[in-house]
């Protein structure tokens, strides 16, 4: 694949080594008073940005760290110092 990602520990590596971990949606919400709908939104709904988005990746075939990075979903390339929409 054309994608490469920059692991904060190992540096720029082939995209094959990583596993996608979804959009960056922020920490888990507090459970008390949380409606089922709000919970479902957090777990299952995505923004599906056509453009640059912040997202989680796991360096599965590497050091095993979870990290966030910015990727342009239209070119499937990592963007450095991007302004996230």
């Amino acid at each position: 694949m054309a994608l490469t990602l920059t692991c904060p520990i190992c540096g720029e590596r082939n995209g094959y080594e990583f596993k996608y971990g979804g959009e960056d949606k922020g920490p888990r919400p507090e459970e008390s008073g949380l409606s089922p709908e709000a919970w479902c939104d957090y777990v299952h709904m995505n923004n599906c940005v056509a453009g640059v988005q912040k997202e989680w990746w796991y360096h599965r075939d590497g050091c095993g760290v979870w990290f966030t990075t910015e990727r342009d979903t239209t070119s499937n390339l990592e963007i450095h110092n991007a302004e996230v929409s």
Partner: protein, 973 residues
């Protein structure tokens, strides 16, 4: 070799080394360096196969594999490109798409029926009435497609893959590519150079004309190639075809192995910082009636047959060309004894005067402003009609070779598949690179250049530009190189001539799909007015050659026929793979790599029958009796020994480790104590149970836990994922492979262990759910848990992997007198099922939650601050009465249904059987099933559907669980 010219300095064959292939059961002698096609051609073969639709005879045309003309079945592999494939001793070659032989094809009459098959024929005729379609399809299937693959065919050979990274990747090993590689490498950069032919040199290697220093071009190319090959910074990959270019500097290719290579074909995925495309040109086919009759070939094909392979392509030749390369070919052919009857040149100006002088000195008839209008000959070429481009002053010349070429076509596929573009250039009459992909440079003939010095200078410049892409500051060198190029001759004048005034009925614009000029006109008349649409309606360019033949002719003719500007059209898009590649090559080596436990060899010796289970190979049975009766009964009555090493084993420690555990495990982790184990489970966000295992406390902020075999690989990832926002301070160590596990189960288990340890392991000292570390055999430290998965007194002994065999031996020896025996995964499966213990993945699927399998008691619902994964979903699922529930089944009859059989009523599926076996511990056939709530009460009767039960549903009673030892007295004994 009698039929070869052996004294040419440009030869790439070794006439002293014979290679023998078989075609039609007749041996053909070629020589080392031959391709399959050249070996056959030297042996007199002229018709290599028949065309897809009309079964027209087809022969050698380009020698670079741009069309399916010479696709053949070689060693049972169809559609091998015989023009590109080096001949090897013993190859068996067959022609394709013939009924009979290539020479005598019983389907050749179809050529006369072309009037009945206009463009889009299938779309028009085959859809009504619908009932006819299956019949029509059967007939079309028989006729469609090139080549046949036997269903019994198995591809042999090694297929591997490499993933090199480099600074600069140069595509094309001709003069400009070699110069680009050298100039980049001289900047200290690593370069990979790809070349499709088995040698470097490009269009230099067969040309005898001399440069300004009186050096023949083949000599100049050879010197360049030596320099490139000797440079330590350049990795040369010859005989390597491009598959695709992608963004982020990714280039994929494959290399066909020679007899010396360790692979049959190798996939190559290159990551480069900059890519130089120096793919040069192919020839643009000249269009006229019967333009693909065997005997008609392109200038480069005829020229290379002679100079590279030492073969005279014909006796009497007519040339219909539009470029100096054609004149060069004519001179060389003439000098080796081919009678050149006439050269028709599309051009009336711009020819190299030296070449014209050379033709004149040889008395070769040269007619500018003339071209070929029609080829004669029933199967093979017998003559050609030449005329001026408006069709006037026609004359017919007999010949057995017609060298036909309209000009050159830059090979821009590597640019356009990566979002680059081309634009029409009136000076060259072709489509030249316009917008380049990021960090991509171009050099050489792809820019329209023809002068050797200019071609090489453009390569030098591209190498420096690539260095700049790599972050090198080469501004001064760049400026010099740009200036040098500017002072040299620019792009050559070319022609955009497509076709003379002929009907076009037998003028083929695409050989692979038998698309004629007439078909293109039909498509345009129906309103398909751009090449991309015409391509789809007429199939032109969709064959194995990927549009190599119709490439520029299609847009040029589209513009010509519609009277529109050439600037308004574009060649159609290419797609990877640019060159056909074996699926085996994509698949690569056998990736089915399984793990073995430390006891693997021993279990094999003991007669274990192994099965692949997840990533492991495990001993499933220890006898041919697949019911495992003896293994099961021995555990119930004596003691069994089991290799449980595949169990996931983890240590987690650090100040925040409890918080992490509370996040992913459903139980209250604060209750986990030292010296005791706790059974618990993990859910996903939907409350569906994904893992179960036991956990114990080793010390302050230090825990050890096990996971199911299948889940071990994802455990670290899972726990880190679900704690990723909080910056928790803990560490995990995966000990799965560091420790083996011996499971000792049965009423005699304690007696066995007592003999090898020096500590008290009585029921009081190590009770059920207890954990203890002690040493075995004097000094092996082990860690023992008392569990009851199989429902008997049972010890799970965790042993450092390297000591596994020793400890195993000690236990076996100690167990002799108590009837110790191996048991395998299947026996364990029966034993635990009898006990009503579940295996995740067997008694659960994607949607099965913790409550469905009666593990709700594990769930500590009152820890909201832990935000336990799945907890919220479980709270909602609690209210849902429609979920499947785990139940025990007892068959009413003596038949064992298969695992996975569905449970049905009159109208629908109500659940399914998870595991069901003939039980030797309890009477009857019993099992576990997931069924809808209303059916889950003991006393219900369910109906099981099995394949081929012919409506006779099997009946089973829902019974309470477990089947065996409901009080648990045995496992707690």
């Amino acid at each position: 070799m009698m039929n070869r010219i052996t004294n040419l300095p440009t030869l790439k064959i070794d006439p002293s080394k014979a290679v023998s292939l078989k075609y039609h059961d007749i041996p053909y002698q070629g020589c080392a360096g031959d391709t399959v096609a050249t070996a056959l051609y030297a042996g007199g073969v002229r018709i290599f196969g028949r065309s897809l639709k009309y079964h027209r005879p087809r022969g050698l045309y380009s020698l670079d594999g741009e069309c399916s003309n010479t696709c053949m079945e070689i060693d049972a592999i169809p559609n091998e490109r015989s023009e590109n494939l080096p001949a090897r001793d013993g190859m068996v070659v067959r022609e394709q798409n013939v009924k009979g032989s290539a020479e005598h094809d019983k389907l050749s009459f179809i050529d006369k029926l072309d009037w009945a098959m206009p463009a889009g024929f299938y779309y028009h005729t085959m859809h009504k009435p619908a009932a006819l379609w299956p019949l029509a399809m059967k007939q079309i299937r028989k006729a469609a497609g090139l080549g046949r693959l036997s269903p019994d065919f198995r591809q042999t050979g090694r297929f591997d893959e490499i993933f090199p990274s480099t600074e600069v990747c140069v595509i094309g090993g001709g003069p400009s590519g070699m110069q680009a590689a050298l100039s980049a490498a001289e900047q200290g950069l690593r370069v990979i150079l790809l070349e499709a032919r088995p040698w470097l040199g490009g269009f230099y290697d067969y040309r005898t004309v001399q440069d300004d220093h009186a050096v023949p071009l083949y000599e100049r190319g050879r010197k360049l190639a030596e320099k490139v090959s000797a440079h330590p910074g350049i990795r040369v990959l010859t005989h390597t075809s491009l598959v695709g270019t992608y963004n982020n500097g990714l280039v994929t290719a494959f290399r066909r192995g020679s007899s010396e290579d360790s692979f049959a074909e190798r996939y190559i995925e290159i990551r480069a910082k900059s890519v130089v495309v120096a793919t040069g040109c192919i020839e643009r086919p000249l269009l006229f009636e019967n333009n693909e009759r065997p005997g008609v070939m392109q200038a480069g094909c005829a020229h290379r047959l002679l100079n590279t392979f030492g073969i005279l392509p014909g006796k009497t030749a007519v040339f219909a060309v539009g470029h100096d390369l054609g004149l060069e070919a004519a001179l060389d052919l003439h000098d080796q004894g081919v009678n050149i009857a006439c050269i028709a040149d599309l051009r009336t100006e711009g020819q190299n005067p030296d070449l014209l002088k050379a033709l004149e000195s040889r008395d070769i008839t040269y007619q500018p402003g003339q071209t070929a209008l029609e080829a004669h000959g029933k199967k093979l070429l017998t003559g050609v009609v030449l005329g001026s481009m408006d069709g006037s002053s026609q004359k017919t010349l007999p010949c057995d070779l017609l060298v036909a070429s309209a000009g050159l076509t830059p090979v821009s596929g590597p640019l356009t598949i990566n979002k680059g573009s081309v634009a029409y250039d009136a000076h060259t009459g072709s489509f030249l690179p316009d917008k380049l992909p990021e960090n991509t440079r171009v050099a050489g003939r792809i820019l329209g250049l023809g002068d050797p010095e200019a071609i090489e200078a453009s390569g030098h410049l591209a190498g420096l530009q690539a260095a700049q892409d790599c972050g090198l500051d080469s501004a001064a060198d760049l400026q010099k190189a740009e200036q040098a190029l500017a002072e040299l001759p620019g792009p050559e004048k070319g022609t955009d001539f497509v076709i003379g005034p002929v009907s076009g009925r037998k003028s083929f614009i695409c050989f692979d799909e038998d698309t004629t000029i007439k078909n293109i006109k039909q498509a345009i008349n129906k309103g398909f007015d751009v090449p991309e649409l015409i391509k789809r309606f007429t199939s032109a360019g969709t064959g194995p050659g990927q549009g190599g033949i119709p490439d520029h002719n299609l847009p040029l003719f589209t513009a010509l026929y519609q009277g529109s500007a050439q600037e308004s059209v574009r060649p159609t898009n290419r797609r990877p793979p640019l060159t056909p590649i074996f699926l085996s090559t994509y698949a690569g080596r056998n990736h089915d790599m399984a793990k073995r436990t430390p006891m693997h060899d021993r279990q094999k010796q003991d007669g274990g029958i192994f099965r692949r289970l997840g990533v492991w190979r495990r001993a499933r049975y220890f006898s041919e009796d697949l019911s495992c009766r003896q293994e099961v009964e021995n555990v119930r009555s004596n003691v069994g020994i089991f290799d449980g090493s595949t169990l996931g084993k983890f240590r987690i420690h650090g100040p925040d480790c409890l918080k992490a555990l509370d996040r992913v495990f459903v139980s209250d982790m604060h209750k986990v104590k030292q010296g005791r184990i706790k059974y618990t489970a993990m859910c996903n966000e939907d409350g569906c149970v994904i893992d179960d295992g036991v956990i114990t406390k080793m010390g302050e902020n230090d825990y050890f836990f096990t996971t199911s075999t299948g889940r071990a690989g994802a455990t670290v990832e899972w726990i880190r994922y679900h704690t990723r926002y909080e910056g928790r301070d803990f560490h995990m160590v995966n000990l799965t492979d560091a420790f083996g596990v011996i499971n000792l189960s049965g009423p005699n288990a304690r007696k066995v262990i007592e003999k090898v340890v020096d500590q008290d392991i009585s029921n009081e000292a190590l009770p059920f759910s207890g954990v203890k570390g002690f040493s075995i055999g004097q000094n092996v430290e082990v860690f023992v848990m008392r569990l009851g998965f199989v429902g008997e007194l049972s010890y799970e002994i965790h042993v450092p992997s390297s000591y596994m065999e020793s400890v195993w031996d000690l236990l076996l020896e100690a167990g002799q007198e108590f009837g110790i025996m191996n048991f395998g995964v299947e026996a364990q499966n029966v034993l635990r099922m009898e006990k009503g213990h579940i295996i995740l993945g067997q008694e659960s699927e994607q949607r099965t939650n913790l409550l469905d399998v009666h593990l709700g008691f594990l769930w500590h619902r009152d820890k909201p601050e832990a935000k336990t994964v799945g907890s919220l979903a479980l709270k909602q699922a609690e209210q849902d009465p429609d979920r499947l529930k785990l139940v025990g089944l007892k068959m009413q009859e003596a038949k064992v249904p298969g695992d996975g059989c569905v449970i049905v009523d009159e109208s629908r599926i109500r659940g399914y059987v998870c595991t069901i076996r003939k039980s030797f511990s309890v009477d009857g056939i019993v099992g576990l099933a997931l069924v809808e709530g209303p059916l889950a009460k003991p006393g219900s009767v369910v109906s099981i559907y099995e394949d081929e039960c012919k409506g006779n549903l099997l009946k089973a009673d829902v019974v309470p669980l477990p089947f065996y030892d409901p009080e648990g007295a045995r496992m707690k004994a």
